[in-house]
Every structure is written in structure tokens, then in C-alpha cells.
């Protein structure tokens, strides 16, 4: 099913490549590319990307100068109302191939015949959730590394399916208000929740590509001979395990460029007892609300709150084998002045546990403070500096004889190149 969907996207993309030779092609394609060169200095545990528990993307072993982000974001109008869109991200790490697709979909945008606008997306794409990730390549204009919520979205959430959105044209309300509703049905995303439960919340900007294998921490419960030893030491969050479709429904209201409110209910409807190829299905559900408010001057306030649960395995003594509830929220203040942008974000995150499964202690709580500054030298070149502190208390860290409370820090200096047409 997933392959079929990817094929359904790949074929229009191939068609798009052929069409690119057509005479009006320059009007029809849009290409954005970005490369970030960063100097990173961290203090914290070895990174989860190295198969340990550190919440950052980097650790003392990988500090230094690196290409911290590279993407190509391309779209092509197949017809006047049909657009193919693909995003390729490249990472120099051990989690997958050097380059892969983070999104690939076709969007049908029929010309409105009334005050209702319909948009249909088919393929692989992010659910309409983040307020931060609004730049090409699903990148953030505010900070280098994303909030805990959107970091998890980047790690484990992707819609492989169809999303229909209906919005009212704004002249209904004197051009001041826009309403929209979205609903989606998707396959895949069954192991989603594995990384969140077992590793916990993080803060970084790595977006999982199709085909990536995200390492899990060396939890005792996953070791040979233990309860969940059939689980691979990695998770492939976009896989379909149980053949059941998931859904989400959401809505948005925007008042001019003053206020935006967004809400979503998500349920992957996974069968928590299903298992295939070393991957368990996790039933992951959440509610999400977000608000963006323009303040006097060039200030804006962004807020996102996600609260939900992820469960896996049979029910034993009233709880699934892994039965966790998660919650995170952030508040970000951002301001532009001329070519400068400053953003300050505070994340709070929490995970609680309803099960008593031994050797699988997953509760945690903590916060992240992120202070970021960007200077736009030109349209193509900008400089960024970001300081981040993540404080976590996680009892499960006792398994590794490390402090259960840890403050991890990261300083990142970036040169960002952006090309677009």
C-alpha cells in the first residue's frame, strides 16, 4: 500500500520531469534548496542518534564543523490545478542513506467555483500541525532546532495517505477571517510512538526520511531473552504493520495576520498487539492545539500544545505492556527588526506511564530553553547562532548508571545558504 502510494507520487514526478522540457515550464516549477554549515559544541549524554539516550542530535564525539542540514524542495505544476511536490533531505549519519524523501505528494487545487476552496493532497506529507515549520524544506525561520513537539513530528509522524481540506474564502468576512477544516486518512505510521516512549522527547532538526532506521536506546527490556527482544534495535516509524488505516481531523481559524488558532485530533488506530519484521504497532493518539498571535511592534507569540498516549502490547493488569501518556507545550516569542530575528522558546515536556512492566521505565519530565538569533545577509545567505539547554529527569536512565537528572547544552553557529526560484 505504501509502495503504491509512493509510486502514485513518483509517476507524476517523472511526468513532471518530462514536462519540464515544455515551453511554459519555467512558470510551472518552483525549486528551493538549502545548505547549513554549522559549528556545534555540546555537553550531554551520547546522542540517541548513536544509539544512546542523549536528546541532542550531536554529542561530544561529533562536535565541530559539519553540514547540519541540506535539502531540495521542488514543486511542479502538472496541470493548472495539479501540483507535484517533493522534498529530499540529506544527512551524513548512520540512520539511513545519504539522501531520501521526507515528503512526496500530489496536490489537487481546483479553482474555486464558490466561496468554498477544496484542496486534496495524496502521497506522503506532514500533517497540518506545526506553526514553526513554515519555510521551504519544512524548516523553521525562527530557530535552528525545533520545539520538542515538532522534533517528534519530524522524527515519527508522516501522513501516507490523503488529506482533504475545505476553507472559506476570506471575503465572506470582509477579507479578515479564514476558516478551514482538514481530514485525512492514512496508512503507515504504526510504529510511531516507539521512539517517543523509549527515548523520550528531543529537540533537534533532523527529519526522518522514508527508509531511515532510527536507533532505540539500549533498554533492558529489548535485550536478548527479555520481554520485547523481538524488537529491532531501531524503529521505522512510517511502516504499516496491521493493515488498519489511521485518521486525523483538524480545523483552523485565522483573523487577518493577527491571530491564528489551530486544532487537531490524531489517531493512527494501530492494533497494539500487531507485530511484523521486528516492528511493533503502537496505538498513538493525541490532541493538538496551537495559536499564533501578533503583538505590537514586530513581536509575535507562538504556542503549541500536544497531549496524548501511545500504547503497545497486550493488556496486562489493566495496562498495555508499554502504556504511556505524553504531553508537551511550548511558548515562543519571536521578533524581527530589519534583517535580524531573535526568538526565545520555552518547551515543557512530560511522559507518564500506566504499566508496571519491568526493565521498561519510561516516565520523564523536563524543559528546553532555546535562544536563537539570525541575521539575513541577503536572500541567499544568513547567519544563525543558537543556544539550547535541555533539562531532563528520567528514572530509566538508572539502567545505564548515569545521572537520572541531566542538563544537556548545545551551542550552534550556522551559515545558511538558500537558493530559490
Amino acid at each position: 500500500m505504501v509502495r503504491l502510494l509512493i509510486l502514485s507520487v513518483a509517476m507524476p514526478l517523472a511526468f513532471a520531469a518530462r514536462m519540464a522540457a515544455a515551453t511554459d515550464a519555467p512558470n510551472r516549477y518552483q525549486l528551493n534548496a538549502g545548505v547549513d554549515l554549522s559549528y556545534v559544541a555540546t555537553s550531554g549524554y551520547d546522542s540517541w542518534t548513536q544509539g544512546f539516550v542523549g536528546k541532542l542530535l550531536y554529542d561530544g564525539n561529533t562536535d565541530g564543523v559539519k553540514i547540519s542540514q541540506a535539502f531540495i524542495d521542488a514543486s511542479f505544476q502538472l496541470t493548472d490545478t495539479l501540483k507535484a511536490h517533493a522534498v529530499i533531505d540529506a544527512y551524513d549519519d548512520d540512520l539511513g542513506a545519504i539522501a531520501g524523501f521526507t515528503q512526496a505528494y500530489v496536490e489537487w487545487r481546483p479553482v474555486p467555483r464558490s466561496k468554498n476552496r477544496y484542496r486534496l493532497k495524496v502521497g506522503a506529507f506532514y500533517p497540518h500541525l506545526s506553526l514553526e515549520n513554515v519555510s521551504p524544506g519544512w524548516d523553521s525561520p525562527y530557530t535552528i532546532n525545533y520545539s520538542a513537539i515538532n522534533t517528534w513530528v519530524a522524527e515519527e509522524l508522516r501522513t501516507v495517505g490523503a488529506e482533504l481540506s475545505v476553507s472559506r474564502r476570506p471575503e465572506m468576512f470582509g477579507g479578515t477571517q479564514t476558516f478551514s477544516l482538514q481530514g485525512a486518512v492514512f496508512v503507515g505510521n504504526d510504529p510511531t510512538g516507539s521512539l517517543l516512549a523509549w527515548k523520550g522527547w528531543s529537540a533537534h532538526n533532523r527529519q526522518t526520511r522514508f527508509g531511515d532506521k532510527l536507533p532505540l536506546p539500549p533498554l533492558p527490556v529489548l535485550e536478548p531473552g527479555e520481554l520485547l527482544d523481538e524488537q529491532n534495535p531501531y524503529v521505522q516509524p512510517f511502516r504499516e504493520i496491521d493493515g488498519r488505516a489511521g485518521y486525523y481531523v483538524g480545523g483552523e481559524w485565522q483573523l487577518n495576520q493577527q491571530l491564528l488558532i489551530r486544532a487537531m485530533h490524531y489517531d493512527n488506530r494501530a492494533d497494539p498487539t500487531a507485530f511484523e519484521d521486528g516492528q511493533y504497532a503502537w496505538n498513538t493518539k493525541f490532541n493538538h492545539v496551537a495559536a499564533q498571535i501578533a503583538l505590537p511592534g514586530e513581536w509575535s507569540l507562538l504556542f503549541q500544545w500536544m497531549t496524548g498516549s501511545t500504547v503497545m502490547g497486550q493488556v496486562v493488569d489493566g495496562a498495555h505492556i508499554v502504556d504511556t501518556e505524553f504531553d508537551s507545550k511550548y511558548l515562543m516569542l519571536t521578533r524581527t527588526f530589519d534583517r535580524h530575528r531573535v526568538s526565545l522558546r520555552n518547551d515543557k515536556f512530560e511522559m507518564t506511564q500506566n504499566d508496571d512492566t519491568e526493565d521498561d521505565n519510561n516516565p520523564e519530565n523536563g524543559y528546553v530553553w532555546t535562544l536563537a538569533y539570525f541575521y539575513d545577509w541577503s536572500d541567499k545567505l544568513s547567519f544563525g547562532a543558537e543556544s539550547m539547554v535541555i533539562k531532563t529527569h528520567r528514572c530509566g536512565w538508572e539502567y545505564y548508571d548515569i545521572d537520572e537528572t541531566r542538563r544537556e547544552k548545545q551551542l550552534q553557529l550556522s551559515v545558511r545558504l538558500r537558493f530559490g526560484r
Binding site: 511554459d24 519555467p26 512558470n27 510551472r28 518552483q30 528551493n32 524542495d73 505544476q77 493548472d80 490545478t81 487545487r109 479553482v111 474555486p112 467555483r113 464558490s114 466561496k115 476552496r117 497540518h128 506553526l131 513554515v134 519555510s135 521551504p136 519544512w138 525561520p141 525562527y142 476553507s167 474564502r169 476570506p170 471575503e171 468576512f173 470582509g174 477579507g175 479578515t176 479564514t178 485565522q254 487577518n256 495576520q257 493577527q258 491564528l260 499564533q292 498571535i293 501578533a294 503583538l295 514586530e298 513581536w299 509575535s300 507569540l301 507562538l302 519571536t334 521578533r335 524581527t336 530575528r341 526560484r421
Partner: protein, 217 residues
Amino acid sequence: MATRIIGLLLSLSIATLAFGHDVDVVVVDKGGHPVADVAVYALRLNGKNESPAPTAVATMDQVDRQFVPHLLIVQTGTPVEFPNSDTVAHHVYSFSHPNKFMLPMYKGKQYPPVIFQHSGVVSLGCNIHDHMLGYILVVDSADFTMTDENGHAILSLNNPAEYAVKIWSPRIRDKEKFLTRSLASTTRQDAEVVFSLAKRLNPTHDQQAGGASWSDY
């Protein structure tokens, strides 16, 4: 030289005759503040459009993913061109009956002007950029203008008493009947018409506010 001056004076007085008298239209909001960019036009009370047919081409540009101007007023039958001054393609359309039209996927000046044959409000959109919104007000009259930043507009009418003055803006929420003023009882040649709006105005469209981005990429 003297003949020229006499000729000039003569043509000026003819012009005065032809353009008639100034009607000063003022639009103020609930708080008495002037309202700019309001379309102001005069319709004949007898319902006939005796204006000469329009010949000049009007322009609704697209700059920085916005329609410029946000509101354009034209006479019925006016050709309007929609040049795209952005580097990205636009797909301009309107579903406003009976002035529906569509200009798919273009940059620069790719299409001939669109001729609006019916009076009414034509609301414009771009099918690529959903936040883009613009208006063309098509009126059965050549006597139209827009209020300036002081909320003032001058209409030059031959015989003001034969007209009604109307105003329109997407920001105005007052009922249409309060936006029409007959000049039939005008005794003075030059008239002043003040529209004091009772309802609060809608904010201006796409007023950039705050330091955050308001549209998904």
C-alpha cells in the same frame, strides 16, 4: 500671444462647463477618523449610464503576492489587465457571478485584458496563493474615484442634482442603503457629502503584523 491666452481661458471655461461642479465626498469611521481607499462613484438618478464608453485599460498588478491595488474601481466595459510582477507564477480567478474569469499559471503579461461587462463586485483570488485577495468594483458610470488619506474624494459632476453618490469598500460593514446619498435636493452647485459610518471597520487586508510568518510555504 493674447489670442492664445483668450483661447486658453475659453477652453478652461468650457472645461468648467463640461466637468461641472465639485462634489466633495468625505468618509469617516465611527470615531470620526478619515477612511482612505474607499471607492466613490456617482450614478444617475434616472438609472441611465450616459458616460462615454471606456477606452483606457486599467491595471490590477500582482506584487509580493498581493493584488495591487487591493481595490480597483472601473466603469462597465473596461478592459483590465493583470500583469504579474512577481517572480512566481500566479493563477488569477474570480467566481463572482456574472464576471467569472480565470487566467491560469502565468508570469508577466501573458494574457490580453479581461473586459468586465457587468456591474458589481468582482472578488479576485489566486489559486496558487490562497491568501491573495483583491477586488474590482465595476460600476455603470465614468464618474468615480477613491478617497485619499484624508478620507476625501472629489467627483466633478455636470449637474449634481441628477445624481446619487455611492461608496464601497470591503472594510465597510454598514448596510448598502446607508452608503448611498441622493444629491437631488442639492441646491448649491458645489456640494459636500459626508458618510459617517456607524459600524466598526474591518481591518485592512493582510495587514502585516508581528514578526511571525503567516502562510505555509
